[in-house]
């Protein structure tokens, strides 16, 4: 579904991505883990067209998308839930969801949109009670649910999540990851960027470890969970 080849991104003088190769197939959850500054967010932003890639190719559903404007990439079905949630605080929860379905214009799409909305409200029953509240007053966890829901009501073919667990309480983190595996069971394709390596590896099928703008380690998540290098660098001490 998504193929990234030899992707290079420079920020001013900084070489943030140094030739990244990766792919995501339909129905997979692929995790990208790595430390702060490893280039994870830059990678997602390059995929979404928010930052320009100087070299390399990105192919999404067979279409080259590097250099395309962000809204065109969303139209193809690559939807990103950005780091820090970035919900529209002055608007209500339901208006936020309405904007998530912004690209749905034809009557068929609008009908589908209602179905998708029901699906989202079933995933996140909490949001249902908050539909008419201003999104800015939701708790951090609720905002994250709204941000994910907002991406799911679009014509999403691949959901890219940037640090969905960041700054959330452990209970909420668990809930978010439950939803992620539920999405996979329902046939969704997900690219998950996380610092929380243990959770990310538990929920995903395959993973890439990004170090200083390069893919350092890759493989099935179950194998990475057992790999010594990953254990010491990213999983911390073993839990008893």
């Amino acid at each position: 579904m998504l193929i990234v080849q030899d992707l290079h991104v420079y920020y001013g003088g900084l070489h943030a991505l140094k030739g990244v190769n990766l792919h995501v197939s339909k129905g997979e959850i692929v995790a990208i883990i790595g430390r702060n500054g490893a280039g994870k967010t830059t990678l997602l932003n390059a995929l979404s067209g928010l930052v320009k890639a100087q070299r390399g190719t990105i192919t999404f559903r067979g279409i080259p998308i590097q250099g395309k404007k962000p809204h065109k990439i969303v139209r193809l079905g690559l939807c990103q839930v950005p780091e820090g949630r970035r919900i529209f605080a002055p608007l209500t929860v339901s208006e936020n969801l309405e904007l998530g379905a912004y690209l749905k214009r034809t009557p068929q799409e609008k009908a589908k949109s209602k179905e998708d909305l029901d699906y989202v409200l079933q995933l996140f029953p909490l949001l249902k009670k908050r539909l008419h509240l201003r999104a800015g007053i939701l708790s951090g966890g609720e905002q994250q649910m709204l941000a994910i829901g907002r991406a799911l009501v679009g014509n999403t073919k691949l959901l890219a999540l940037d640090e969905p667990s960041l700054g959330l309480a452990p209970m909420v983190v668990k809930e978010i990851f439950n939803v992620i595996s539920r999405l996979r069971d329902d046939g969704g394709t997900i690219l998950l960027v996380e610092q929380n390596a243990r959770e990310a590896l538990s929920v995903s099928d395959r993973a890439y470890v990004l170090e200083a703008g390069r893919v350092a380690i890759k493989g099935p998540s179950s194998r990475l969970l057992e790999e010594e290098k990953v254990k010491t660098a990213y999983l911390g001490k073993k839990r008893r």
């Binding site: 979404s48 919900i87 608007l91």
Partner: protein, 292 residues
């Protein structure tokens, strides 16, 4: 005395309606780009000048002349976004605001070159015969001004609160990156907002100039008054723009009529300062707070 009071209130409402229209123009650009567009007053002059040419050079009748003038200024607004604001290397607010100041000077220069420096006037829409209303004598044109302002206000209120495009525009203002990730074409949205601001500015000019006459630089003072009205009402709020505009117009008119016409601007701006000391967000401005 009572009769005078009614007169002051009507004339204040008319000027206030124009301030409100200019404030609405500021409000539109605030709701997409979060910048102050200092060319807003010049959009008003441009609208009047185009109207002048449509009527006296092309000999069009009043309705097509209005439509074409509004479209022309909307186009100039869109061009200002496309060829000035969008090309800026830095998207810092200060840089963009300075570009609007540059655009304002550029537009005034252009008007002076094309239409000259001499004052011009436009005809009343429907007769010059004053109507007696509650003891005050008002020009029919004043009713056009007030009616036009109400129409523009209702349209914009509907746009920002009840249409997807309007909400998308506010989303662009709040967080352009997140808006782009919803599939919203951020640049097109900004261009649309400048076009709308241009159109609203043109409407203001076409409505008021039959009463005031126009010169190439009239947009400067009117723009400032409209800006003050927008701040007074709560910058960026559609309803606030109207309330701020009417309040400022009434204060000026009542101040001039009841106290002294020498001090009419002083009275208006003192009230503006007082409101802002007590309530920095303006009358309808909302506290901006959110959880992070």
């Amino acid at each position: 005395m009572n009769q005078n009071l009614a007169q002051f209130i009507f004339s204040g409402t008319t000027t206030g309606a124009i301030y409100a229209l200019i404030a609405l123009g500021f409000c539109i650009v605030e709701n997409s780009m979060k910048i102050v567009n200092f060319a807003q007053g010049d959009f008003l002059t441009l609208g009047g000048m185009f109207m002048f040419s449509m009527l006296y050079a092309l000999h069009l009748s009043i309705l097509p002349a209005i439509v074409l003038s509004v479209l022309a200024v909307a186009l100039i607004g869109a061009a200002m976004e496309r060829f000035a604001l969008r090309l800026a290397k830095s998207k810092e607010t200060v840089v963009l605001v300075f570009i609007t100041i540059g655009a304002s000077i550029f537009i005034r220069g252009g008007i002076k070159l094309i239409w000259g420096k001499s004052p011009k006037s436009l005809p009343y829409f429907s007769g010059a015969h004053p109507i007696d209303l509650l003891g005050a004598r008002i020009l029919p044109q004043s009713l056009w001004v007030i009616g036009g302002t109400i129409a523009v206000f209702l349209a914009l209120h509907h746009f920002f609160h009840h249409t997807k495009q309007g909400k998308a525009m506010k989303a662009v203002a709040y967080d352009p990156k997140a808006a782009a990730l919803m599939g919203i074409n951020v640049e097109a949205m900004m261009m649309l907002s400048l076009a709308l601001a241009g159109g609203v500015g043109a409407v203001a000019g076409i409505l008021i100039i039959p009463i005031t006459t126009m010169t190439f630089d009239m947009g400067v003072m009117l723009g400032l008054k409209g800006f003050a009205a927008a701040v007074l009402g709560g910058y960026g709020d559609v309803m606030g723009a109207v309330i701020g505009g009417l309040l400022l117009g009434l204060l000026e008119s009542l101040g001039a009529g009841l106290i002294s016409s020498t001090y009419k601007d002083v009275i208006a701006f003192v009230v503006l300062l007082l409101v802002l000391f007590l309530r920095p967000r303006g009358i309808l401005g909302k506290e901006e707070w959110e959880r992070v």
